[in-house]
């Protein structure tokens, strides 16, 4: 399969530094348009040249070629089919990488961080495939320029717009309709705009019983690129995604992500490039209800303003140096509750700075390395009431320091190292080591991320989450890259993993620091991949064996326990076949071991109701989950336009996979109790129509 996308070499620098320079060397004439290069179906063999362990530059077209739920192609969700990557649960759009939770990932879009970028309570990501130019996933050691994630980094780049002519696409599926246009404005400007909206609410309004229902999502993004001159271009990206769910005058929930990003790419000399980046992100949540005159509302937000300077210097033909500085102001409202006539809130502010330097290159024809160091400085800032703990564990007021006052500072070195050893032309051995930290801690009420999770910011009481990861992998290509096998093993050790204290819920106390405890986590695993890269039939088999555990004081008698996101066995078989030039079929079969489950061992009478007692945290496992998804696509290309019909079935054999398992009274049972499994999706058909012009 061939594809072509237009990228900027300097923008590539942001995602995989060093590779960009290697490309510009291969295409010296591209400097005429400031490093724009056309990447055309690079041979899979070139993946062996990648010096970064655990990094995968993902082809959006392949990712969106896999079957999709409800016809909604989802780049983030498609990653769940890769080794070492899995979903949080049935239907979830979040990804868990190497034992991390989705909240431990850093997801950035044109340099701006996004928080919980999901629609429909987490079923889909907010990335519209028509807006995406490139995606890079770092499962292992991320380059030193990335900070703020104790698990994976997903770096997504928006399409910059076609410089030669106007193009557009529009599609409609069962859940949403979307459209995207791009093209040039004059000789120096290009643009790309993409938008998507669900439309089920428009039909619900026609039904008298459902006319008060509010249920829709949308996302819209746009990017404009200004080619200032042959050495400079500036990108402006704007983005907003929002979900609303509720019943008019009774209850309402909405959550949204918005950002603006300004990126200035400058080639200072033939060997020196500079990227300046300013971004502002707002993630906000709100839910309220008004029952019988009693109004209750819960709000929260994360606001981040960031500036970043990244310098890439070509030291020699073999080595490049990346260095830079980023600084970010964080404003996190973990909760603001309006109940009746009263208000309670908790706000935390922090100043996060990263300074990094990294060298990448080949020592000889066999050895290559990426060696970097990031210094992360996190300062908790005043301006809001802060607390301390008395010797007896009681939280006590520690006053309200001035806004500029630093309540606590943490300076953390974060070494990053990737080593590669080319054994032969068709195989490579890779090893990685990284230390990372994360200052935004998501406290989840369930085992999956929800838009209304509360977030704790590193403060005088909350420490940065720290992760150390080592990995070792081997990749071999056969028949000039047609076939590929790989194996990679890893071990991760985490400190300051926070969770709610036993018995506490997100509404127990507005002072989040009073109801959370920090502990440890560890994860180890083996990832195996067999992939067919070229030909009419492509696909892969990915298998991951892993173990993830936590130990948090006060939980499970302070002993290690299997984490809720542990996936012992994870298998994905994916195939895509071009039957003719017009017809393509694809299918994927996935299998996951049952998720860890806290199930009761005994029951008892409590206040006239049956209650349960759980001896061990996650002491049981839910039934395993598996399903087969298939899709068929018909594509017709005309001189001035093309169109595409897609038909699919999610969960073809109607497997009832566990989503929630609960225990309840049932007078018809001899024991008076039954275990009930709730499944989200049976077989789900889908159809969509797309027109490209």
């Amino acid at each position: 399969m061939r594809f072509s996308i237009v990228l900027a070499a300097l923008a590539l620098t942001m995602s995989i530094s060093g590779q960009a320079l290697a490309m510009s060397k291969e295409h010296p004439d591209t400097t005429l348009r400031l490093n724009e290069v056309t990447v055309t179906a690079t041979s899979p063999m070139t993946r062996l040249d990648n010096l970064q362990a655990g990094a995968e530059k993902l082809d959006p077209e392949i990712l969106t070629g896999t079957p999709a739920m409800l016809g909604e192609h989802d780049i983030i969700k498609s990653m769940q089919l890769l080794p070492g990557v899995n979903s949080e649960g049935e239907g979830s759009g979040g990804i868990q990488v190497r034992g991390g939770t989705s909240a431990q990932n850093l997801i950035i879009f044109d340099g701006a961080p996004l928080y919980n970028p999901t629609h429909v309570m987490g079923l889909f990501s907010t990335f519209n495939e028509d807006a995406v130019a490139a995606v890079t996933l770092f499962k292992g050691p991320a380059p030193a320029q990335y900070g703020g994630a104790s698990s994976a980094v997903v770096d997504v780049m928006h399409r910059p717009g076609n410089p030669d002519h106007f193009r557009g696409t529009a599609s409609i599926g069962l859940l949403s309709a979307k459209a995207a246009v791009e093209g040039p404005i004059g000789s120096r400007l290009t643009y790309a705009v993409a938008a998507r909206r669900s439309y089920a609410d428009l039909f619900l309004k026609l039904l008298p019983d459902y006319k008060s229902t509010i249920m829709h999502f949308y996302d819209v993004s746009g990017k404009m690129r200004w080619h200032v001159n042959s050495r400079n271009f500036i990108d402006l990206t704007l983005y907003r995604a929002e979900d609303q769910l509720g019943l008019k005058n009774l209850t309402h929930m909405d959550w949204s992500n918005s950002f603006g990003a300004l990126n200035w790419h400058s080639r200072l000399t033939d060997r020196l490039t500079l990227t300046s980046n300013i971004t502002g992100t707002i993630y906000s949540t709100s839910m309220w209800m008004d029952v019988n005159g009693v109004f209750q509302e819960a709000q929260g937000h994360i606001k981040a303003v960031q500036m970043k300077e990244a310098l890439t210097a070509s030291l020699s033909d073999a080595f490049t140096l990346d260095a830079g500085l980023s600084t970010r102001l964080l404003d996190v409202k973990s909760a603001e509750w309006h109940i009746g006539e009263n208000t309670e809130s908790e706000l935390r502010r922090g100043w996060e700075t990263g300074l990094w330097a990294s060298v990448e290159g080949k020592l000889n024809e066999h050895f290559g390395l990426v060696a970097g160091m990031r210094l992360s400085l996190m300062c908790g800032l005043g301006g809001n009431p802060i607390y301390n703990f008395a010797p007896d564990g009681t939280m006590i007021d520690a006053g309200t320091p001035p806004k500029s006052h630093i309540t606590k500072a943490y300076l953390l070195p974060e070494p990053r190292l990737s080593l590669t050893y080319r054994l032969a032309a068709n195989n490579v051995l890779r090893a990685g080591l990284s230390m990372t930290s994360q200052n935004l801690h998501a406290l989840r009420m369930t085992d999956s991320s929800l838009p209304f999770d509360r977030y704790a910011l590193t403060s005088n009481l909350v420490k940065p989450e720290r992760c150390t990861q080592v990995s070792l992998g081997y990749v071999q290509m056969f028949r000039e890259g047609e076939w590929e096998i790989s194996a990679e093993t890893y071990y991760k050790d985490l400190h300051n993993v926070y969770d709610y204290c036993d018995g506490a819920t997100m509404f127990s106390d507005v002072r989040l620091e009073n109801i959370i405890l920090g502990g440890r986590g560890r994860s180890t695993g083996l990832e195996l991949l067999l992939r067919k890269n070229t030909g009419r039939f492509t696909g892969w088999i990915a298998y991951t064996l892993s173990l993830t555990q936590n130990r948090i004081p006060g939980i499970n008698d302070d002993r290690w326990y299997v984490a809720a996101n542990d996936r012992r066995n994870d298998l994905a078989i994916v195939g895509m076949f071009d039957i003719t030039d017009r017809w393509r079929i694809s299918g994927s079969w996935t299998f996951n071991s049952g998720l860890p489950l806290s199930a009761p061992d005994v029951k008892y009478d409590w206040n006239g109701l049956t209650h349960y007692y759980y001896t061990h945290r996650n002491g049981y496992r839910a039934p395993s989950a598996h399903r087969l998804d298939i899709s068929a696509t018909y594509r017709k290309v005309n001189p001035r336009y093309s169109y595409e019909w897609s038909f699919g079935f999610y969960n073809l054999y109607n497997r009832h996979n566990p989503y929630i398992i609960f225990f309840e009274d049932d007078d018809t049972k001899p024991s008076g109790t039954k275990a009930v499994q709730y499944s989200l999706f049976g077989i789900v058909p889908s159809v969509s129509f797309t027109i490209n012009f």
Binding site: V294, E341, G503, F507, V602, N607, G608, G672, S679, F681
Partner: protein
């Protein structure tokens, strides 16, 4: 906020298109039974019951244990009372003894070589000033909301409340409240109790029948009890330990109770929204 939690979790269900429910054949682990102590003492009396936990695959056994030594000490006055079980196995205070407002009490339970201890403070009483139903319209149905309203007995002091709802004298549901829930001078708690339309497969806890007597009880509780009840509201997790000493389940509550009843008559309930 318990209702908020429920709304948040159930919001996912709103998005479901093809959801389905199956019963699981679940193999439970065997563990040694634990003691469960439930002690509630109000200005009207009350008692303490000791039972054992029941394996999940057996019918719930609520047979009380009666071989324990149970003593309650008024820590404010320094007086200790020995409790003896009645014919139903409930440990009672001596005749005429009830907890007094502002006093702190400790309970000591000793049985089979194990010792359990807990304390509780008797707070000032409140009264139920509002107890009324209203219909709330949802897509395709209406739900009866019961509002319980009561004054803050100690303005200026943070108070916490345990609100229980009975259906025909059997526990139906419960919730928690704080002073922050105050609207127009009353702390107000809403319960969604029943669908308007009858269900064929409804259990006792699913809905009310016309003519049902619904009773509301409000107990002002201290912070320790509030934290304990908050943990009880969290599905799928254990409650925090209320007793110190050996491991047991349960609680010890001394609190004044305010109660009031209302008859469920669907025809006399107004639509709110």
């Amino acid at each position: 906020m318990k209702l908020f939690t429920k709304l948040t979790l159930s919001a996912a269900a709103l998005t479901l298109l093809t959801a389905c429910e199956d019963e699981l054949d679940f193999q439970y682990h065997d563990i040694e039974p634990l003691k469960v102590i439930e002690g509630t003492f109000t200005q009207e009396g009350g008692g303490l019951k000791i039972t054992l936990t029941t394996p999940m695959d057996e019918p719930l056994d609520t047979t009380p244990l009666t071989d324990a030594d149970v003593a309650i000490t008024d820590l404010t006055e320094g007086t200790t009372y020995q409790l003896t079980p009645d014919a139903e196995g409930i440990y009672r205070l001596p005749e005429g003894i009830v907890p007094l407002t502002g006093h702190e009490y400790a309970v000591d339970v000793t049985t089979a070589g194990q010792h359990f201890k807990a304390t509780s403070t008797m707070l000032p009483p409140t009264s139920i000033d509002v107890l009324e139903f209203s219909w709330i319209a949802f897509p395709g149905t209406e739900q009866a909301s019961l509002q319980v309203g009561f004054p803050d007995p100690e303005p200026g002091v943070e108070n916490y409340y345990f609100v229980k709802i009975y259906r025909n004298d059997r526990t139906f549901t419960w919730s928690l409240a704080r002073d922050i829930y105050m609207v127009d001078g009353l702390v107000r708690v809403n319960f969604f109790l029943t669908d308007r339309e009858p269900k064929d497969d409804a259990t006792f806890y699913d809905m009310l029948e016309p003519g049902d007597v619904v009773k509301a009880e409000v107990y002002p509780v201290d912070l320790k009890m509030f934290d304990y009840l908050m943990s009880a509201a969290m599905p799928g997790k254990n409650m925090i330990d209320y007793f110190s000493g050996d491991k047991c389940l349960g609680y010890f509550l001394t609190a004044p109770v305010a109660s009031q009843t209302i008859v469920y008559d669907p025809e006399k309930i107004d639509l709110h929204n």
